[in-house]
């Protein structure tokens, strides 16, 4: 059941990411919903779930991107794993902590992507940092924090998560 829900979530993620989010791009940069989902999956599900969700999201998103498939899988899988490890050591998470965590995870993911992808001569690491990595990290943090706040304070997700654990 959990796998089906996750598969449905990933399948629904692609249209939102490639059809709707480009209309909300700020200076040509849009938030990476896949990364946010991977971080949350790792944080609340653990290393294994974070890694597997990261690999799956990276793979499917890579099918609809010009980027290398493996690059997306490596970066998102790594981020999911790190989020899982972080989740093991953090007892409580507030929206503020989550925003900072997403900001850091997005920066790590962006820098990894810039290093893994063989970009053109025009696209130096500094260019990548100021035009893609940092703006996307800010957007990811803001969108992730907003989704988290919405899910927990408005949709009573805490009860659902507690029941799921027990």
């Amino acid at each position: 059941m959990k796998t089906l829900v996750m598969a449905g979530l990933i399948a629904g993620l692609i249209p939102v990411q490639s059809v709707l989010l480009p209309h909300t791009a700020v200076w040509g940069v849009m938030p990476d919903l896949g990364l946010i989902v991977v971080c949350l999956a790792g944080l609340f599900g653990g290393e294994l779930e974070g890694l597997l969700v990261g690999l799956a999201v990276g793979w499917v998103m890579g099918l609809f991107s010009a980027a290398d498939l493996t690059a997306g899988m490596v970066t998102k899988g790594t981020v999911g794993y790190i989020a899982g490890v972080a989740g093991r050591h953090i007892v409580y998470v507030s929206p503020g902590v989550l925003v900072l965590g997403l900001l850091a995870a997005s920066c790590v993911s962006g820098l990894l992507t810039a290093l893994v992808l063989t970009l053109n001569d025009q696209q130096s690491l500094w260019w990548a940092l100021k035009t893609v990595v940092l703006p996307q990290a800010v957007l990811d943090g803001a969108v992730g924090g907003a989704l988290y706040w919405l899910a927990w304070s408005r949709l009573n997700m805490e009860r659902f998560v507690s029941e799921h654990r027990t």
């Binding site: 249209p15 294994l48 499917v60 099918l63 498939l69 899988m73 007892v91």
Partner: protein
């Protein structure tokens, strides 16, 4: 304040670590092979995901049409009616003739364009944009099952859009001509000087390796040279906006304004070049020609 994954089993952590190490090693030691495997296996997954993608793209297109046809025009409706009456009084039948003439001109241009083509073309609809921020790419609603393959050229009647870089069973990813990682062989139509066209980080294109003695200037049109890739000769790419001659450089370069507005592309034509290699042909050993 929420509690996080306090019940993660220790074995799951070890399994995740082992899996991560194995996959990382695999990705770094066999990147091309794994890329090929995941691309092949992902093709039917791409077909499945293409359904919600098409559905959302259809809804978005409907909303955009509704907005541009009704909502955005509500404020100007009365004014538009008055202007229409005035226009009708002033121009009368002449306006209809102009409309007809413009339509005829458009259709003629399209027919001539089709007549010049060397390879068959298949129409496709743009249903999305690249899922990441690193590349300028669009997603088409047709893929391998329609005969699309990587490296096939993508155009509109106005000019070159880009080339296909990835396909699934039902979708294709097109890297735009304005992406810095794209390279297309082109030539200046007036002077016949050849060069390589690549995108720029500012969203334009640049013609590189123009000979120093070339007389190319701003306003010259640049077309495909047909030497490399899935484009026949003579397809319009853009117009030279500026020539750059660096001190001591062996070549000059030119900044181009693309003919096609990449942010507004909705339908495209894919050039089905028969001489392009498939992925398996590219990675495999060269084929031996058999005697008849």
């Amino acid at each position: 304040m929420r509690m996080v994954n306090f019940r993660t089993p220790y074995n799951a952590g070890r399994l995740a670590l082992a899996l991560a190490v194995v996959l990382l090693l695999g990705f770094f030691l066999l990147p091309n092979q794994l890329q090929g495997v995941f691309q092949e296996v992902g093709s039917p997954i791409g077909w499945v995901v293409s359904w919600p993608l098409r559905a959302v793209a259809g809804i978005q297109g409907g909303v955009a049409d509704f907005w541009s046809n009704f909502v955005a025009l509500q404020g100007v409706r009365e004014e538009n009616t008055e202007l229409r009456k005035e226009l009708e009084q002033l121009k009368g039948q002449n306006s209809q003739l102009r409309e007809a003439a413009a339509a005829t001109e458009r259709l003629t241009a399209l027919l001539e364009f089709k007549g010049q083509e060397m390879f068959p073309m298949v129409a496709a609809r743009v249903i999305g944009r690249d899922t990441g921020n690193w590349y300028r790419a669009i997603i088409l609603n047709k893929g391998e099952s329609d005969g699309f393959r990587p490296d096939m050229g993508v155009v509109t009647p106005a000019g070159v859009v880009g080339r296909i870089v990835k396909t699934t069973a039902a979708t294709s990813v097109v890297l735009l001509v304005t992406d810095p990682n794209n390279a297309i062989a082109g030539l200046v139509q007036r002077t016949r000087d050849e060069g390589i066209i690549e995108g720029t980080t500012s969203g334009l294109a640049r013609l590189k390796y123009i000979p120093l003695l070339s007389t190319a200037r701003a306003g010259d049109r640049v077309v495909t040279s047909g030497l490399v890739g899935g484009f026949p000769r003579g397809l319009s790419i853009g117009t030279i906006a500026r020539i750059d001659k660096a001190e001591g450089a062996l070549f000059q370069s030119a900044e181009l304004t693309p003919e096609v507005d990449m942010s507004r592309v909705e339908e495209v034509l894919v050039i089905q070049s028969p001489n392009l290699q498939t992925d398996s042909e590219r990675s495999g050993s060269p084929k031996v020609k058999r005697k008849p």
